[in-house]
Amino acid sequence: MRTSRATRTTRSRRAVVLVTTVLSATALLATGCSSSGSSSDKAADPNEKITLTVGDFGTFGFKEAGLFDAYTALHPNITVKENTTTQEADYWTAVQTHLAAGSGLDDIQALEVGRIALATSDALSGSFQDLSKAPGIKKDDYLPWKWQQATTASGKTIGLGTDVGPMAVCYRQDLFQAAGLPSDPAAVSALWAGDWAKYVEVGKQFQAKAAKGTFFMDSATGLFNATVSSSTEQYYKNGKLNYKDSASVKTAWDLAMKADAAGSSQGLKEFDPTWQTAFTQSTFATTICPSWQQANIEKYSGPANAGKWNVAQAPAAGNWGGSFLSVPSSGKHVAAAQDLVAWLSAPEQQAKVFQKVGNIPSNQNAYALPGVTDFKNPYIGPNAPTGQIFSTAAKAIKPAETGPKAGDLQTAFSNGILLVEQNGKSAGDAWNETVKQIDSTIQ
């Protein structure tokens, strides 16, 4: 999911100690008395006037695509209210504490892909409804790996996929032309087809001819994430953390180091304000482009750079980001919430969200609908086959084993690469620091 980090909640100096203690205290008090009140007596009246709340973060696009109003039009007794948090990290902190307390959750809670392994673990999965048994929901409609991600070891599916994050590479065609490289999407895709190492090589070619102050890529962290994300073996193997021996982590790390050594990366911290302004200032030529990234590119590059961006296929298909909708069992209107989740996840609705905000559907049937595969982004490469590039990538993604700490490891490695790019550490030192960091987060 998108995680632009422009603002953050205020936390005063002293609040930290208090927050930790008070939260834990509340949790203890609340768990002691949460066993009363059940949802079993709620099935009585189907026409009862109810309000369903949907908790999510960033831009899910439901409201933007007018889906909540459309649902109320179909079911006049149901009003839908969306509770949105800008930052996923803040959102997840709140969900965790509500889960711990067993109360305060919305009828529907969105879950980011980085949290799904945790949510499907024994520790948390008990708090959610099994959606595979809910009426109107069919397993075969969804991308198999996406369905699998939200399914527990015992076969309970706690979330339905909203969007997926198939990757492409977005590039500045004007800067490519200036460096003597092809600028047509098909030709650019061919430059690096099949291997991320070729992408790094193209970077060297670009850098040799690039104007002073322009770089081939925004950050080697994007390259690292992309390389790991397009491999079937990532941070976990057979349920165990395996990052030290994982071939893809090693390849990705080496590639990132190579790109940095070649001087083709600007070394920006992704999603930070400096990264955002670099879009406006046109200082880099490519960025790794999961479908949700399109919105960021348009937002930060601004109208002055309209028509300069284009989109090409990534060297290898992979997934970065994407979310799920879950129904917590503690809700008052569990059955109605399940119906709403099923409706929101149907192909027609996911296609509408895609056209409005660019989130690629996880429901396979949506790809066949008009306006999806033939979609073209008016801002990014108006003539590029954007819808086709992303849906081809989505279908080509191979399932990868993930685990509860996957999101944290991704962050730790991104930081490790920045240690080289920004803090001037050697590759060896940065690797050791990263391992130290990861070891310190495992208990």
């Binding site: 005063s12 100096r13 930790t20 834990s24 203890l28 999603f271 670099a278 200032q281 070891d439 987060t441």
Partner: protein
């Protein structure tokens, strides 16, 4: 009945404070202490596993010890970097404001403006000022031909930037406390000193500062506590990597470390151990201050 009333009522009147304190102060404190002896994750607080002092030994010698000592060191250097200039500027400002001034109430209010600004707003502005690409700090240095500094990435530059935010926010607050104390100094002391031919600077050194000693001690204690718990400024200054005090943990304070362990890595037990270590540290600082205060009182 009357006896019960006279004896009992005062206790009844003060009880709300103690009840609220017990619920929101004492209980969380003890509960945090209990948690610090367990391995417990944020979302399964009821499934705590007893580990004894392991969280503490981990902090001092185990896997996270590298980051703990680093955070302790940073808390100390950031504390010195912000507290010392902050109090010195504050006392100077207060001295100036203590003269008869036109629009003195305007200046006094203006002093409090930074304190009234939210940490988030102030830190965001300072983060922009210290941004490496287009920040005001680098523009200013550029006027003198100095190359752009990567403020956030450097160990000392980032700490300097953060202590500047802290100093900016708290100087006015301390200045007002000093000013209040200065106004309680009898005017004839200054008159006598002036008659003896003491300059304004000499008056400040030999009349004002000695009279302010208890106040200075108070502000030192309060600022030290604030510095030990420093969280908002480094957390927000770091943007994406603020939760660990920069990519290289270069300005991670104990407060930030505790947040990262507790809320990012959901290790509530370890976070509680950090909280108690900070608490012990503050008690120690309080003790040292009390000793110094006693010394001062004796020497007077």
């Amino acid at each position: 009945m009357y006896r019960w009333d006279t004896k009992g009522s005062p206790y009844a009147f003060v009880s709300p404070f103690f009840l609220v304190f017990a619920a929101f102060g004492l209980f969380p404190l003890l509960y945090t202490g209990w948690l610090s002896l367990h391995q417990v994750s944020l979302y399964n607080v009821d499934q705590a596993k007893w580990v004894g002092l392991k969280n503490y030994t981990d902090l001092f010698t185990g896997p996270p010890s590298h980051f703990f000592w680093n955070a302790l060191g940073n808390t100390f250097t950031l504390g010195i970097l912000s507290t010392v200039p902050q109090l010195m500027i504050a006392i100077g400002l207060a001295h100036l404001l203590n003269y008869k001034l036109r629009a003195s109430s305007f200046f006094r209010t203006a002093l409090l403006a930074p304190y009234a600004t939210s940490v988030a707003a102030a830190t965001l502005v300072f983060a922009l000022i210290f941004s490496p690409e287009s920040g005001m700090a680098n523009w200013f240095l550029g006027l003198f031909g100095v190359d752009p500094v990567a403020w956030e990435a450097g160990e000392w530059t980032s700490q300097l930037a953060i202590s500047l935010i802290v100093t900016w926010r708290w100087t006015g607050y301390n200045a007002l406390i000093f000013l209040a104390a200065m106004q309680a100094v009898p005017g004839d002391l200054y008159e006598a000193a002036a008659l003896d031919g003491a300059s304004r600077w000499k008056q400040f050194l030999h009349v004002t500062v000695p009279a302010l000693r208890p106040t200075i001690l108070f502000t030192v204690v309060v600022s030290t506590i604030g510095a030990t718990q420093l969280f908002g400024e480094p957390f927000l200054f770091g943007g994406q990597s603020g939760h660990q005090g920069g990519t290289a943990h270069q300005y991670e304070t104990l407060g930030v470390f505790m947040y990262d362990q507790g809320f990012r890595n959901s290790m509530l037990g370890r976070a509680s151990a950090i909280a108690w270590t900070m608490f012990a540290l503050l008690l120690l600082i309080g003790l040292v201050n009390a000793l110094i205060a006693r010394r001062l009182r004796k020497s007077q």
